[in-house]
Symmetry: none
Subunit: 221 residues, 4 copies
């Protein structure tokens, strides 16, 4: 089964704002309820230990209801991921577009990413397990999700722009360099999620550190 076929693109790409019958709007709302519940439960327990009943109960629906909106557990999970990344991408595109210079775009990119992760801690906690009982089940499946690819491509484009503007070195490919930026802030996010005293510090504060480390490295100048 193809990963992307699991996702009902209709719900993701369609702009639900206009001209929906009450029926359709309600349907979308319920779908959202379930996704919200799933986000919470998956984040808490992980994919395998979360049960559909957990999710249904959290969403205050009956078990069977979940299956009216999602083909199966896997499809629900992928829809969730797809949706989150889709939202993130939309924000990133919109916000970075206001800047001209690559450096400024980078700043915004990092800042918005951090902000999004901060606002969606629950969701990203899913990934932060850092391998906990991880499984490579059908490795590559996940990172082939089109949104994940798009996020990566977005970074590559940003780096490419930086290279054109001579902000970023050109002795390595944009892709290679982009693949360094992402884990740097993932690691920052991860460490932030781990800490108990999250209340105090804001994740967004870290954007300076990330950009600095990314551009200048750890070496003393």
């Amino acid at each position: 089964m193809n990963v992307n076929s699991l996702i009902e693109d209709k719900f993701i790409t369609e702009k639900p704002e206009l001209s929906l019958s009450r029926r359709e709007r309600d349907k979308l709302l319920r779908r959202a309820d379930i996704l919200r519940a799933a986000e919470h439960v998956f984040a808490l327990k992980g994919y395998y230990e979360a049960t559909i009943q957990d999710i249904a109960r959290e969403a205050q629906y009956a078990t069977g209801t979940v299956y009216l909106y999602f083909k199966d557990k896997e499809s629900l999970y992928f829809s969730l991921v797809e949706r989150k990344y889709s939202d993130l991408l939309a924000i990133l595109k919109e916000r970075t577009s206001v800047a001209r210079a690559a450096r400024e775009k980078l700043e915004i990119f990092i800042h918005e990413n951090l902000g999004f992760f901060e606002r969606n801690q629950d969701f990203f906690r899913i990934f932060v397990s850092e391998g906990n009982k991880s499984q490579a089940l059908k490795v590559g499946r996940f990172h082939k999700l089109s949104v994940i690819k798009q996020h990566r491509e977005f970074v590559t484009e940003l780096v490419k722009l930086g290279q054109e503007e001579r902000l970023i070195r050109s002795d390595f490919s944009a892709k290679q360099i982009g693949d360094v930026l992402i884990p740097i802030f993932m690691s920052v996010v991860f460490n932030w999620l781990k800490e108990e005293s999250k209340g105090a510090k804001s994740l967004s504060r870290m954007s300076g550190f990330i950009l600095d480390m990314f551009l200048n490295g750890a070496g003393k100048k």
Copy 2:
């Protein structure tokens, strides 16, 4: 249940070379058989989709035998991780100790890390799932494993040394900077694992790129 309590440290810390009765030596050998099998099966199927029977069959033992050596499935899994990281740590300590200068130590650290990952692809593939059906089951549990902590501390120490030698900037803490190095090469490893054409390129070749990016960053000088 405490994570570390899951691990029978005896088997890990004890030097098995001397003064073991045949009994005890056999026991250790069988344990190793099972761990080897578990590594293979977990890597192939992931934690949840691997069954104890799969592992027992692979190890050519009966199902029940696994339980003579490991309390339960989880304990087996954590023992595996603990063991791998323990081996890695031993290698890193030994190899970096031959160098004096922080820079050289860093080079060796990265090189040996990559080499170890390359030699143990199967095992690390477990983690590389990067969230595929990830589960945050008892988040934080995993990264509290003492070996994982030790690996992180090892990096911190290395960075600290680099700071003392003025190789590495001191405007951020050693821990913070260390937490940047690890994900950089994790990302390199990940991308390498993903590629089909693994046969061609060697992972160890990438150590130059990693050190360069880590020390100098992506910025054009």
Copy 3:
């Protein structure tokens, strides 16, 4: 629950031709729609694998609508059977009544039965499963359906007439002998339904064979 209570006899025995309000006529029409759809779906999938939704969709009604016309799935099923046999009985009675002699009546009986089965292959295919995943759920329930009984009684009467006319032997009861005739043509029907090359041969052609076997037996004279 009594089987016959499952059937809303009203709909079956009443002659719907006269004096029905539009309301009632519409109701009957819808009921017929659903029965038609049920016949198709049950024949295709069997009782247990057919869902009410399948049937509703086939009839182009909503799921709930089915329940306005039938108490439950079982009742729908029995209504279907009742109706089919009721139709068959009506035809048999009418057609055989034109003949005087028992032999002629028998000929017509067999011929019309075969014709009916041929015209309603879909429906009878339901039974032809010959036990496939059969279920004796509440054994005896089915053959207690009044129409099934009536069909059997009809045959008995025919045999009785034959005995009176000395066409048929009298050393066994009419019922016993009748119970031999039915399975003979059921078996012919069954074998006909099984064959792929149904298009070619007509089922009605077999009436000669059946009557011959029934009256003269397999023995060489």
Copy 4:
């Protein structure tokens, strides 16, 4: 999926009498326990309404145990049918072989068949549902079971022999005529099963009637 592949022929064709380790013998015994329980439960409730739990409970095993001996519910069911018919065939072959003349073989065939049905009422009750909630699910699947085919072929051979000996008419094919004999006694069996007063009359008594009707037909001579 091929029907016959559902059946573990090993258990059916192998003669379990000799040279089985205790292990293997026990295994076979347990398999038999479960088949016995399944026979009872399927006969009582039918395929769909019987649950694996019912069967396990009846056999006094845990649910999971059933799956150690049978791949799934369907396989258990087909094994049951296959086994019964296999036993029947073995008996028929053995007993009819003592006779020379076709007529005598036929007598034995009918008599033994009836005896077998009588001894295995429970099992055959499964089929006797006479269409109760029957389903043609994948029509033809069932009658393609090799044992069912073999039973039919056995009858055909018997008829063929009768034709050679000029006991049976030759104006129809042996197959066609054989297909008449089977339903005649099936109908007798069915009617016998239906009756409450089974205790009184023995099914085997009916063999005279069946042979008479089959050879001479219902016509008055």
